[in-house]
Amino acid sequence: MQDLAVLFRGSNLARLLGGLGVTLKLSLVSVALSVALGLVVGALMTLKNPVVRAFFRLWLETVRIVPQLVLLFLVYFGLAKAFNLQISGEAAAVAVFTFWGAGEMGDLVRGAITSIPVHQRESSAALGLTRGQCWRFVLLPQAARRLVPQAINLATRMIKTTSLVMLIGVVEVLKVGSQIIDAARYDAPQAAVWVYAAVFFLYFLACWPISLVAGRLEKRWS
């Protein structure tokens, strides 16, 4: 029982919640930037220009092939070493997660737009709708329905992946957890199980509502 009590010792619980706050802040900023940039990137990805296509292809392959951790190290340590540019861990994290998220989000947007059959465009043209009206009433509403579930999936993946930033010195929920475990190493050696369980529960709290919303939207629109 002493191991479980570690969670409530001193300000441990508040510290864990504070760590969750850092996790959520990093995630929310990165997700918001990714969605905003992703919409633009996705629209650009549908262009047929070969240079534009090659550029986005390279971007997308990079974020898919290179592990996020390597990107974090590259930005945080690499910039410092190569250009003597010191940025905070949080700034590096937001930069990397936005780089990743905007690429992936762009590809989702591109997929949602191009998956709409060309006939939808033609039949709205045949009804005398202008291009703008076609986008507003026919194409975008259908693209959004295809996009939202995947975008939410991406957002939850980004929240979970923020746990990597503890490795560049950002104290988020997982880092707080391991600090608590380390501090209790001698008097409560089994506390790790409980602390990690608490961290698990906090991630669950952050992602579960998002999954719920996604499920509901999918049901309504399918």
Binding site: Q120, E122, S123, A126
Partner: protein, 253 residues
Amino acid sequence: MSNQPILQVNHLSKNFDGNGVLKDVTFSLNEGEVIVVVGPSGCGKSTLLRCVNGLERPDSGEILLDGARIDDAADLVRVRRQVGMVFQSYDLFPHMDVLANLTLGPVKALKRPRAEVEAEAERALARVDLADKLHALPRQLSGGQKQRVALVRAMLMRPRLLLLDEITAALDPEMVREVLNVVLDLARDGMTMLIVTHEMRFAEAVADRVLFLEGGSVLESAPPKAFFHHPQTDRARRFLDTFEFDAVKQRVE
């Protein structure tokens, strides 16, 4: 009623990758007239319809609607508001219910009052036996029902001319009739139509004139009785023969 044809197609040609899909096609369509275009697949029938509606740009020749030449892209929106088109794959908007599908064009493109259009849409749906489907989503309808909604959607634009591009080709045989009956009703009401179809008996019943298209050229242009019973060209004769089942005939003999 003027003597000027609603649609006039003069020396229309269209190439895809150097292949002539339409070669010097000329014909005209008068008010209240129904022309059915038949021919083997790949003969350019669909391309012809798509050119009339500006979905394809012709390479040469001209298309006149009510005597006015369709020239640039700015004309197209105006033209399409007067020329309805129904496609093989229905192409209803899947995220809208039937009523919203029907009212989108008249309300947004023609800026007509919504209440008035909705009342008209309800009456039109009832005429094609779909009064109870007003708030159904397209995916809840059968193919034949979807195609009837698509016909009503095109008609609510009050077009001068209706283009039908193989509208029964994707339907199960038992649904073909319910759709073609609607088209026959439209013809009886005096709707001007240009129809591409593979249903030869329907073509004979609905057409005032048949155009036989082969390799992008008009080989025959004749009243339906003459075309179906006394085709002038060998090519047309062979084409019509493919609709008879030779093997069955031989067995009966």
